[in-house]
């Protein structure tokens, strides 16, 4: 599989409700050791939202520092950003990712690092 197959895919729950599209994929460095890099990167979850503009700038994350006005504007734009932990994913089909439970239970994307 490729990262590009996840990015932009629509995330839906089993009742067919949409949480929006995949804006980014969160990785955590705790996989098996690989070469000189150390622990390999494992997919931890998906950052999902309904609005696309600005997601690639990183403003979706709550820990992002930046000018106050930009932060407030982007905070308003991205209040619907959600995090899908990998263990909630039930199936991955082209452009459509099905999750367990309800989209209403999805938490906000917490800070990375």
């Amino acid at each position: 599989m490729r990262l590009s197959e996840l990015l932009g895919a629509e995330v839906v729950d089993q009742a067919g409700r949409s949480a929006g599209r995949v804006h980014d994929v969160r990785l955590v460095q705790d996989g098996p050791l690989v070469g000189g890099f150390g622990a390999s990167l494992r997919v931890a979850g998906l950052i999902v939202g309904r609005r696309a503009v600005g997601a690639r700038l990183g403003y979706e994350r709550r820990d992002m520092r930046g000018p106050l006005l930009v932060k407030l504007l982007v905070g308003w734009l991205f209040h619907d950003g959600r995090y899908v932990a990998w263990d909630r994913i039930r199936s991955i089909k082209p452009d459509r990712i099905m999750i367990s439970g309800s989209v209403a239970d999805l938490p906000e994307p917490g800070p990375s690092q």
């Binding site: 980014d24 990785l27 997919v43």
Partner: protein, 130 residues
């Protein structure tokens, strides 16, 4: 064990690859994700670089054309972009530092083909510094 976390699109995609001698060696266009044999979440096993990977992200007719050109430039007939295994990655920062020379990478084939067949044929190319 809690490892560091990073966001793939924000902190890896489009970053420059830099080889062990500090030379530019391509750009991250996509990542190869592999499901481990024992089950569980996928692992990042390689960086995909070059127009073959980019064409998937571009999509449409232009993306298809880009992929066809990239495939013609590659030895063999495999429809895949140049693959940089994650084992040669040293560090992820504002660029991706590799612990090999760029000549050892698949991305180098595209670069050397372009230099020989396209750049080398331009008038005055022989006078250009390396």
């Amino acid at each position: 064990m809690a490892g560091r976390t990073l966001e793939a699109g924000l902190q890896l995609l489009d970053r420059q690859l830099v080889d062990k001698e500090g030379r530019l060696a391509g750009k991250v266009d996509d990542l190869e994700l592999t499901f481990p044999d024992g089950g569980g979440p996928p692992l990042v096993t390689a960086i995909l670089a070059g127009p073959g990977a980019l064409s998937r992200r571009v999509g449409g007719r232009f993306g298809g054309w880009l992929e066809a050109v990239a495939n013609r430039l590659r030895e063999g007939d495999q429809r895949r972009p140049a693959r940089v295994p994650f084992a040669v990655v040293k560090e992820i920062g504002s660029a991706i530092a590799l612990n090999v020379a760029k000549e050892e990478l698949e991305t180098y084939r595209l670069e050397s083909w372009t230099r020989e067949h396209v750049i080398g044929r331009l008038p005055g190319a022989g006078d250009a510094p390396e």
